[in-house]
């Protein structure tokens, strides 16, 4: 088997260090989360909103904040002219796996922060089943990272990167969004963990299918 893990790990480390120094994605993500939460807080005021709507709004914030930052992993390589450098030192698959892992860590960390802020600041949002809620956040992060990584690789080659990213992502992420919203509703209603297993199976299947297809397609996207 050709070495995959070591180059992927070092590409992940490279991206993490680069992000901590340049804050290409972190600043965009953080500002979006703060702005979106503030707007929701002001618009809700003292109104009482149903848990179904609140679950949907949580994933609206997560979706659009992901869209505002996750493309940077490939777009910044393209803009800085470092794509040929990576092409010259690694095979396509380790590049994809390293970027996927970086996007997952970024998405999961971001989603935990969003969820905590949402629980703290949105009064009516009460999670009754913590296990279902945090499992949904984890599997939702996997699903978002898997699809947004390959879409980021595609749009990095386009001229209209900013607008194309959410437009391309939405139809691909829609089945995942419907599932995570349903699972979040179950966590608010205090359902048993077993009741949410169907949703979790869909999220795992979605992630596995997207990652498998991405590994096959990435070489064609990555090379001219």
């Amino acid at each position: 088997m050709k070495p995959l893990f070591a180059p992927s790990y070092h590409i992940f480390l490279k991206d993490s260090r680069s992000e901590l120094r340049t804050r290409y994605a972190l600043n965009a993500l953080f500002m979006f989360v703060v702005t979106a939460l503030s707007v929701i807080l002001f618009s809700l005021g003292s109104e009482s909103v149903s848990s179904d709507v609140l679950a949907g709004m949580l994933w609206v914030i997560i979706f659009f904040s992901s869209m505002s930052g996750l493309s940077r992993t490939f777009v910044s390589e393209e803009e800085r002219g470092t794509v040929p450098t990576l092409q010259l030192i690694a095979r396509p698959t380790p590049v994809y796996v390293g970027k996927l892992f970086f996007n997952f860590v970024l998405t999961f960390s971001l989603n935990v922060v969003i969820a905590l802020l949402y629980i703290i600041f949105i009064n009516n949002f009460v999670v009754s089943s913590e296990a279902i809620f945090w499992t949904t956040i984890f599997l939702g992060s996997c699903a978002i990272a898997s699809s947004s990584t390959i879409i980021a690789a595609i749009i990095a080659k386009a001229n209209t990167k900013g607008t194309l990213y959410p437009v391309l992502s939405f139809p691909i992420l829609l089945p995942m969004l419907i599932t995570v919203i349903k699972a979040t509703q179950l966590s608010i209603e205090g359902a048993f963990f077993e009741e949410a297993l169907g949703e979790f199976q869909i999220l795992v299947s979605y992630t596995v299918v997207v990652v498998a297809v991405s590994v096959i397609l990435f070489e064609f996207v990555w090379k001219d």
Binding site: P7, L13, K14, R80, P84, Q87, A90, R91, K223
Partner: protein
């Protein structure tokens, strides 16, 4: 201690291009470019701006796919697949960029790690930085480097894995006299054991070429006398 270059064993290398053609947006850049090189041989690709020198260099390194033709390589009698070619090629070009937010040594260690160069051999990163006159600035971030220093660092990065084939696009671009001297020394060293391919119009660089493809006049390899 490393053996002197002249004493090192020379690995048999065969590197060839079967008739290469490339078009961009229906405009033919070049067609039917072929060559075959062995260890200790060199090739220059010359031609005016827009003639396709850099395009050929990119195809040789696997950064671009040709419309027709293919690149074939064998090292020590073993066929190298196109996806493994990057392990045997070093490429320096003005349009290849390193990571500005990292220091010179961090860039080399990062590239070495991704390439899978063993940690005990990473001391050669320091040796390369000394050789290319960057050792004193090794801990400075690359965005503070001049264009000439960046070009020197690209050479260090390209030579880190001791490539059998060294491809240089405009090898002396952005370099001062001292830098040009160091690069020419690296080109000489490459010719002791491996293959050197340069895309240039600089007459002094062409002295290193045993054969030449002139994209303007002829598409046939002309052996120099």
């Amino acid at each position: 201690m490393e053996k002197p270059l002249a004493d090192r064993e020379v690995t048999p290398i065969l590197f060839s291009a079967k008739p290469l053609s490339k078009s961009f947006h229906r405009r033919l850049i070049f067609e039917d470019i072929s060559f075959s090189l062995k260890e200790r041989q060199s090739l220059a690709i010359t031609g005016k701006n827009g003639s396709g020198k850099s395009t050929i260099a990119k195809i040789i390194c696997g950064l671009l796919s040709p419309d027709k033709g293919s690149i074939q390589c064998s090292v020590a009698g073993k066929e190298i697949s196109s996806e493994d070619l990057f392990n045997h090629i070093g490429f320096v070009s003005p349009y290849i960029n390193l990571y500005d937010e990292f220091s010179g040594i961090e860039n080399l260690v990062l590239i070495g790690n991704i390439r899978g160069i063993p940690v005990d051999k990473m001391s050669q990163a320091d040796d390369l930085l000394k050789r290319f006159g960057l050792f004193d600035r090794r801990n400075d971030e690359v965005h503070g480097y001049s264009s000439g220093m960046k070009q020197r660092l690209k050479y260090a990065a390209a030579l880190l894995h001791h490539p059998e084939i060294l491809v240089l696009d405009e090898p002396t671009a952005n370099l001062d006299a001292e830098g040009i001297g160091v690069v020419r020394e690296a080109m000489r060293a490459q010719l002791q054991t491996g293959i050197l391919i340069i895309a240039t119009n600089d007459e002094d660089d062409l002295e290193f070429a045993g054969a030449r493809i002139d994209l303007d006049r002829s598409r046939i390899i002309q052996k120099r006398t």
